[in-house]
């Protein structure tokens, strides 16, 4: 970091430096941070049947008094009064929590096996985990429809092996189970990679020492491997948990009518009912729910970097 205070060319370098910092900075402030203030503002306005479908809340700096008097929290009252929205939030958090647990249970053995593989094939294994991530998310979710449909490939397979009568059909499509399968499938690389990064760095002599001292492998795992991989566990869990909570595509395509997820609710309020202020209020509450996980994630990332 000392070189950052390089003395030569301070004038020019200083200007260039300001430019390099300022351009991405301003871009993100304008297109990422400012929108959150707007979303908050609009969540406090009334619905109007015009385009854009909300009454303006704030026009010019002279109208601050108007602004305050017009603000109302009716959208928030509506959200907390209607048990459907409360249920949708709770259900999203529940689905995200269960999925994250499932991802950990499935992802951890994979990451561990990758980290224990010989050094020569590890890059190939990492590549193989990343490759599905490069193919479209939508396509990967869509692929599961053909498999899980009642007359889909899973039914055909089970019938062919004789596990199922010719009249029976798999009843998974459009249920929560299908949503879990879709989520685990789509987010698995996001869980495996941070876990692998943590496990791969681990010092194997610790395990050897434990083994020499007569510690059984399972105990050694819980006492040494797992605690040391904890940063990866936290990073992977947050990278999965936060976006899953607001997931829209998977519950929409694989879930049933009774699969409540807040991302879907927000989408319906916006595109279906065209209620922009209510959709904004839904988003604001979702954001508030996710503030703590996001902070944990950022702290974790900063430690890694």
């Amino acid at each position: 970091m000392a070189v950052a205070q390089n003395s030569d060319g301070q004038g020019k370098g200083g200007l260039g430096r300001v430019f390099v910092v300022a351009l991405p900075y301003l871009w993100l402030v304008l297109f990422f941070v400012a929108p959150f203030f707007i979303i908050f503002k609009i969540s406090l306005s009334d619905t109007a049947i015009a385009l854009p479908p909300y009454t303006p809340v704030f026009e010019g700096f002279g109208a601050i008094q108007d602004f305050v008097s017009q603000l109302d929290i009716e959208n928030y009252i509506f959200l907390t009064d209607d048990p459907l929205y409360v249920k949708a939030y709770l259900s999203s958090l529940r689905i995200a929590a269960i999925s994250t647990m499932l991802l950990l249970l499935i992802g951890y053995p994979i990451a561990l096996a990758m980290a224990r593989a010989s050094a020569s094939i590890r890059p190939t294994l990492v590549m193989m985990v990343i490759l599905p991530f490069w193919t479209s998310f939508l396509i990967r979710v869509y692929a599961w429809i053909g498999i899980l449909k009642p007359d889909g490939l899973l039914t055909l397979l089970l019938q062919a092996v004789g596990l199922m009568g010719p009249e029976d059909q798999v009843q998974i499509f459009r249920t929560d189970t299908a949503v879990f399968i879709g989520i685990v499938y789509s987010y698995l690389p996001f869980m495996v990679l941070p876990l692998y990064a943590a496990l791969e760095k681990m010092d194997n002599t610790l395990l050897e020492a434990a083994n020499d001292l007569g510690c059984p492998p399972l105990k050694a795992f819980w006492r040494i491997t797992f605690p040391l991989s904890l940063p990866g566990v936290i990073a992977g869990s947050m990278i999965c948990f936060i976006p899953i909570t607001g997931e829209f595509v998977i519950p929409d395509l694989l879930g049933g009518a009774d699969t409540l997820m807040i991302g879907k609710t927000l989408w319906t309020e916006f595109f279906g009912n065209r209620d922009w202020p209510l959709a904004s209020a839904v988003a604001v509450i979702l954001l508030i729910l996710l503030v703590i996980p996001i902070m944990i994630f950022q702290n974790q990332q900063k430690k890694v970097a």
Binding site: I39, L131, L138, G146, A283, L286, L290
Partner: protein
Amino acid sequence: MKSSRFDATVLTLGFAFLYIPIVILIIYSFNASRLVTVWGGFSLHWYQTMWSNQGLMDAAWVTARVGLLSATLGTVLGTMAAMALVRYGRFPGRMLFSGMIYAPLVMPEVITGLSMLLLFVALGVDRGFWTVVVAHTTFTMCYVAIVVQSRLLTFDRSLEEAALDLGCPPVKTFFRITLPLIFPAVIAGWMLAFTLSLDDLVIASFTTGPGATTLPIKIYSQVRLGVTPEINAICTILIGLVTIGVIIASLNTKRAELRRVHDEHMALRTPS
């Protein structure tokens, strides 16, 4: 020995889970039958109907242009952001800056999409092609910044310092020394940005306008009506393009790596 067999089983099952759905999708794109679950023989029929589907082709063209533009813009901005984070130590608002880089990676897309749309409406911008480009640039630049940042952190700064000490202006130093050295990461970042843009349904749905229907929006609206082999065909082509891109990129990285090792070797030999 027992644990290595366990590991092999875990890896086989894990990769089977990851790849079987994609393989099935590709196989069924060559199915002659309209029924997705009945195999009616090999056929390229769905590729033909896909090709003559004007709406689908228009959407593909829009998506390609959005992807190229936003990936390029995102790579420039993301590389600058990575330089700012790694090289410029402390500057006012650094905390907020790194927060703004990490948050979009995990932010639920419905929130990003909706807030972006409300910004465009507040600014009085007509929604369409360019609003999608701006939205995609915003989230892809963060991925690029992370990829380039990790390269900048592990790279040998002595060459850069030598150039600066010899009086090379910082901008020239960046283009002659730093950029060539981090180039594989910049390319990887660009490709990641491009595929993310190609892939995005939610943010594009919020920020798009008339005449700027992207491929995922088109695919999504067709998927809602039911699975058709035509979609399998277009998905297969997309998977093929991405796979080829990834293979070319990894070969390139490998070649660059070999050349670097070779150059270093030569550099060590010549002066003596």
